[in-house]
Subunit: 429 residues, 2 copies
């Protein structure tokens, strides 16, 4: 069975999705047994579609062409915004097409209208890319954690805000200056309100909270506060208290069954797992019955991370279309399909080496000679005198080198008559 | 369609799986539309099955009874070890049953034999619980990341070793003493070799490396080194270098297509994401094309976390059995099913409050009076004199209190005639 995909929107994420599909379609065919084909692309203008048409894709500026094409079973919406995507997706679902979108604003605002249409027509409306970009948190919540009740969520779900706050901590600078810098670097929009006033975070947290609670959580009814107004003084004080400041989406299931869902900046102890999630990274920290706490961190935005989540959804639907739920393809897991393993000798690493030697003239020269003969480049050396009768502990770190060379050097040093015990070696990660 | 589950093994994870299924079966029926039933439990002795029989379960000491029961479609193996599970799982797969296991040793050692039997019989053999306990890394690799090629993995996949190493860093103590303590606390077995010599980690890394490479990675051919022999001196030196030591499972896809897969202790910079994964926690750090780096952290073992992963697999199979790949149930996402949101006033938090006041006698008394009237308990207070003409910055942190109370206190302070600018409030996370 051949499965047709149509994509509306050829901007950053849309063109990334085409790229990944073009790259991975042979893998889907050979390893997953899925025959997936791009059967139509749509953008606002011929200028936008031209590079894709040049690569042999059928292109149009009329979305309805894709929506009503019977050879397309999966429609991917990557335009963003509310009105047109709402219309397109409704029509596609009603026409019995499965839909994949990265549009969190649409899901948060019109999901309650669209999901029932999907249910009625027995098709999927998937949106992994809508929250946390490439972090597979939606699928984890929908599938992996069905044995758990999610009690709380703490999410860093907006890379722009996290970049700004991180910069204010690391490099100083007040909000306005850091925002201007973020805009210059492309991490913030010219009109930053969607991000810094936490509207985007609110959309995402509402989606997570809906999934976690099994109820529709309306972002328009949530407490939402952005990061404007946080100053360097707050940063300094937070630091004095051993804290950092993060914009968090928060979900709690209250004892009485009510749902606490909100978005605002938070002081977090520096040793909190989320405190080290810096820059444009996103993270979602879940607490669930049975499971306990779990953290997922990764790229929350960007062309290819977001597109990879879109492609994951496309494949999930394609699997169902092709086989009605066939087994996961584990056929590669056979002894006659063994990996060609890198031999131990060819591993390359930096190394930490601790030698215990008699503290005598010439010992250091002998060791460094052994290193030289093995062709190993030393990164640092520290010698410590021991109180034990005339022993010295000598520690070397190396630049990256081959395991076989470092083993040769160790063996040579261990053979020295001044060696008191065998060397201890630990690799740098 | 009613789906029957049989479970072999009623030890820690087995009894946890029964508990979670008993708890969640009503949810699976009402929210997922899945009619799942426990149709048989098996353990070695009547003494082990007695408490389950008392709760009304059909129990046996003969695994074959479950394997050949036509009312059971999903067989769950939670015994551990090699020989019997291998026999049972082969037989169950051959009989057309889907199988779920947490047995990493079995998958690593005999997976190459079992997966082809599963493929031949068109059934699933799922093993999410085999690596990282409750962390949904297997499903992420099998489904979410199909649009990516995984380039590298760094995994902390053995809680015992991570506990020992963490203790050596945090509390001092040499390996033997810390191991003895871990054994006393139940974090290490009486015979710890499976853990501390990294055999368990090797099984897990081999499974991850197989999934990442699409090739069978044989743990018997990997470099595997445990954590014996790491001493306090290594800990102290690592610390002086700004590093920690972690036992890592490592996978790299080499430029030439070969696979680098190994397990050994590693020095990691203290600011590496994995360095803060402490105690019995597990973590898997992936680098994938398109996606970039992603980290998943959580409980790597334990009764309920592991059982929750088993249940996730059972439900994944049940979904396919019931519907042949029907849409995910998003019917709850409707406006007429709105969550009962906790009103903002009822949010409870600790707060950070910064006031800018004229530096005059009585100001502090006026603020603390406002706090007292709002019923807010102060956790700490710092006053800083400003160089600006007679202004003071006064910072309070509060114990947990209601948002309405803190808003009342802020309003009262802002109304004071000595207030220079509105208060800045940030919530503790």
């Amino acid at each position: 069975m051949s499965i047709g995909v149509g994509i509306i929107g050829l901007g950053t994420v849309g063109s990334g999705t085409v790229e990944i599909l073009e790259e991975r379609i042979p893998f889907f065919a050979s390893e997953l047994g899925l025959d997936i084909e791009i059967r139509g692309l749509c953008a606002k203008s011929d200028a936008e579609t031209a590079p894709f048409a040049a690569r042999g894709h059928r292109c149009t500026t009329n979305a309805d062409e894709l929506i009503h094409d019977p050879s397309i079973q999966i429609l991917v919406e990557l335009v963003g915004g509310y009105d047109l995507p709402r219309k397109w997706i409704s029509a596609a679902l009603a026409a019995g097409k499965h839909v994949v979108t990265a549009n969190k604003a649409l899901i948060a605002k019109h999901g309650a209208e669209l999901f029932p249409i999907a249910a009625e027509n027995k098709v999927d409306l998937l949106f992994e890319a809508a929250v946390g970009g490439g972090i597979p948190v939606i699928r984890a919540m929908q599938e992996s954690l069905v044995g758990c009740e999610i009690r709380s969520i703490r999410g860093i779900v907006n890379g722009t805000c996290n970049y700004i706050l991180t910069s204010m901590f690391k490099d100083g600078g007040d909000f306005d200056a850091v925002l201007a810098e973020a805009q210059k670097l492309g991490y913030a929009e010219a009109n930053p309100t969607f991000d810094v006033d936490a509207i985007d975070s609110a959309h995402k947290l509402a989606i997570l909270a809906s999934l976690a609670s099994g109820k529709f959580v309306d972002f328009r009814k949530m407490l939402v506060e952005g990061i404007r107004g946080i100053g360097q003084i707050d940063v300094r004080m937070a630091r004095e208290m051993g804290c950092t400041i993060k914009l968090l989406g928060i979900f709690n299931r209250c004892e009485d069954g009510r749902i606490d869902a909100r978005v605002h900046p938070c002081l977090l102890p520096e040793n909190h797992l989320l405190s080290s999630v810096d820059g444009v990274l996103n993270a979602v920290h879940l607490e669930a019955t049975n499971l306990g706490p779990t953290l997922m961190t990764g790229a929350g935005a960007g062309k290819l991370p977001t597109a990879s989540a879109v492609v994951g959804d496309v494949v999930a639907i394609a699997r169902k279309l092709a086989s009605g739920g066939a087994p996961l393809p584990m056929g590669f897991f056979r002894e006659d399909n063994a990996a060609d393993l890198l031999p131990r000798d060819e591993i390359r690493n930096g190394y930490y080496l601790r030698f215990t030697m008699r503290d005598r003239a010439g010992v250091l020269a002998a060791i460094t000679q052994a290193f030289k003969e093995a062709g190993i480049s030393v990164a640092s050396m520290i010698q410590k005198h021991s109180t034990k009768g005339g022993e010295a502990t000598i520690i070397f770190t190396t630049h990256k080198c081959a395991e076989s060379d470092v083993q040769a050097a160790i063996a040579a040093v261990d053979r020295l008559e001044d060696s008191v015990e065998p060397a201890k070696m630990i690799r740098f990660g």
